[in-house]
Amino acid sequence: MSKYQLDYLDQLESESIHILREVAGQFERPALLFSGGKDSITLVHLALKAFRPGKFPFPLVHIDTGHNFPEALRFRDELAAQIGEKLIVRHVGDTIKLKNLTEQKGKFASRNALQTYTLLDTIEEFGFDACIGGARRDEEKARAKERIFSVRDEFGQWNPKLQRPELWNTYNGKIHKGENVRIFPISNWTELDVWNYIRRHNIELPPIYYAHEREVLEFQGQLVATSAFIQLEPTDKISVKKVRYRTVGDMTCTAAVESNAATIDDIISEIIATKTSERGETRIDDRVSEAAMEDRKKNGYF
């Protein structure tokens, strides 16, 4: 390799930093949506590279469903404190009370759909005009078509048929009042790219990404952690297994995978060997129909 050549991870990094700086340059009130998961942790890491020694030109915002993994919440708070950036947390539970929303019923009652309400309220409360998120195009088919700057109307809706052309590395952040833009700086990264980047830069992650013992329930071939949010039935098959998480969402709709991976190298080898996609293996919420994600996105889901 010539002296003036970047490898793929450095190229991806530079592209993402460029996008983050475009957000800073183009918007009045951006926010970075931070969940404590690996993708948003990677975003924070990239933001440090984009803006230090200055402060972030945006706060970190977490929409807490109340069903989050305690390990992820702890990590979220520690990271925000450690880097000295502002963290705003809003709770889906509060929105449910305030607006008398009806919660899903059933075994894996999920607050995924209700999350959208809290997110839109939070956007309105702070007047955010741009929300940075860690979604990637390799995750899912609908996402494969989404722009890096993705405009949402005042109801947070995405219109896949009316997307703006996005050329070169020129991002159009112009919007009308009330609209906002979702911004995806790591659109072009794959799951494996994220893991390789985390390894290269020694980025710290919540412990649930590494293999640990946990009490799980087996449901349709997936392993779901037992918790106060899941209603167990006497016939449920419960056991303690060595597992890790490949994605971190709600405890009710994120499945664990059996694993012995104690280090990041182990995780990467397992991911290379795996035959199931990230979302397919770990998300219970995508299974409803082929178009599940597209429908939820249109309704303002991230």
């Binding site: 970047l6 450095d10 020694p53 070169w168 590395n169 397919g280």
Partner: protein
């Protein structure tokens, strides 16, 4: 390991989706659950075979109509390279989507159905590839199984296409016979083509040299954001954050700030909070200048040497992307890298027929998907390079201030 971005272009039914599905499948980028999902959908079809094309059609409307209507990005990698595919629709109605996909591509795969040969669409796709200056073109002659793997059929298409390539000035063109359906010459060379001396498609994709496409001679650094911590210990810190889009920057270099023309020199270069002596495209860095001058977003820091053009009038080839027509006199925002200025369309000199390259002189307007040569006047000067000479500083978008939508793509001439 580096990155190759490529676009696939073909007419409906040339086999584009099958080809992409094949590349993803054979490079093991498709997971079991995704295969099961397309298996379920394929069952609704009559033939019952797993339809690899279903992998690439993302949105439901597209699944229902069975066509690709927007650019979808797909990813796969081999130990040599990470690949980013911009899967763009080929129909004339979606020229703007193809232009979008082509804008970042290092390479274009132009698919030709061996039974049909070079068609009108083939010409159009090649014209777009040449307008957007995609550096490398691979002409994949598909469905060779349907023409008995005929060397003659292949040769005739190559001869026809060579003419197109010559007219367009396409420089790096490679030809390959394939069957996307059977996987011939996609990952491995197939023995059904003893007369074919080239490599497999994947081999070509892995080995096309793209590093040389980055200009490391003429430095351009558009300032995106100014970092000013304004804390006690960093009171005087003023760093210009941006991405080097071409060239190499070294500590101590004399520079000119464009469009103002003010001179200074580089006091320091920072990357990840550490000082470095030199940085190069496409790195994102922070520059510090020796003199305390007024620089903000939209300025370009350029080493002394060959300067960009600094003018407030531009001649552009423009692809119009909006339903409302472009009419001389219309005003738009023009955005080039981090700089945004007001602009107005002075005149439309001609409209280019994207199927034939014929020019229609002085049309009174341009419609959706039209490509025209136009003159644009900007309210303030901008620093630009000819798109053909420096792609990263020669492309601009037009934004309609009332709808906020991106309505045009300009290649500055």
């Amino acid at each position: 390991m580096d990155i190759l971005r490529f676009i696939t272009a073909g007419s409906v039914d040339d086999g584009k989706s099958t080809l992409i599905g094949r590349l993803l499948y054979d490079s093991k980028s498709i997971m079991i659950d995704q295969l099961e999902a397309i298996g379920r959908q394929s069952k609704n079809r009559e033939d019952g075979e797993i339809d690899l094309a279903l992998l690439t059609d993302g949105l439901r409307a597209e699944r229902e109509q069975g066509i690709t209507i927007d650019v979808a990005y797909k990813y796969f990698s081999t130990p040599k390279r990470k690949f980013i595919i911009a899967d763009a629709p080929g129909h004339i109605q979606y020229t703007r989507n193809m232009v979008t996909g082509a804008s970042n591509a290092d390479l274009a795969i132009i698919l030709i159905d061996a039974r049909n040969g070079v068609a009108e669409q083939t010409r159009r796709h090649s014209i777009i590839a040449s307008l957007l200056k995609i550096p490398h073109v691979v002409v994949a002659i598909n469905k060779m199984d349907l023409v008995d793997y005929s060397h003659d059929v292949y040769n005739n298409i190559v001869i026809d296409y060579a003419e197109v390539a010559r007219n367009l000035g396409l420089k790096d063109v490679t030809y390959i016979p394939i069957s996307a359906l059977n996987g011939d010459n996609i990952v491995e060379k197939s023995d059904k083509y003893p007369w074919y001396e080239g490599e497999s498609l994947l081999h070509i994709l892995e080995n096309t040299e793209v590093q040389n496409d980055i200009n490391l001679t003429d430095g351009r650094f558009p300032v995106q954001y100014v970092i000013r911590p304004q804390t006690e210990d960093l009171h005087d810190y003023r760093g210009y954050a941006g991405k080097i889009i071409s060239g190499v920057y070294r500590k101590g270099d004399k520079v000119v700030v464009q469009p103002s023309g003010i001179e200074s020199s580089i006091a320091a270069i920072e990357k990840d909070g550490k000082e470095i002596d030199e940085a190069f495209a496409p790195q994102s860095v922070v520059l510090h200048l020796k003199d305390d001058i007024d620089i903000s977003r939209g300025d370009t820091i350029v080493p002394t040497g060959i300067q960009p053009n600094v003018t407030n009038e531009l001649e552009v080839l423009l692809c119009w992307m909006d339903n409302k027509p472009l009419v001389p006199g219309n005003k738009y925002l023009l955005q080039i890298n981090s700089r945004t200025v007001r602009s107005s369309i002075r005149e439309i000199q001609y409209k280019l027929n994207v199927n034939t390259l014929q020019k229609e002189e002085a049309p009174d307007k341009a419609g959706l998907n039209d490509v025209v040569k136009a003159v644009i006047k900007t309210a303030a000067p901008i620093a630009w390079d000819a798109y053909a000479a420096l792609r990263s500083n020669g492309g601009a978008i037009l934004i309609d201030e009332t709808s906020c939508v991106t309505v045009g793509a300009c290649m500055i001439q």
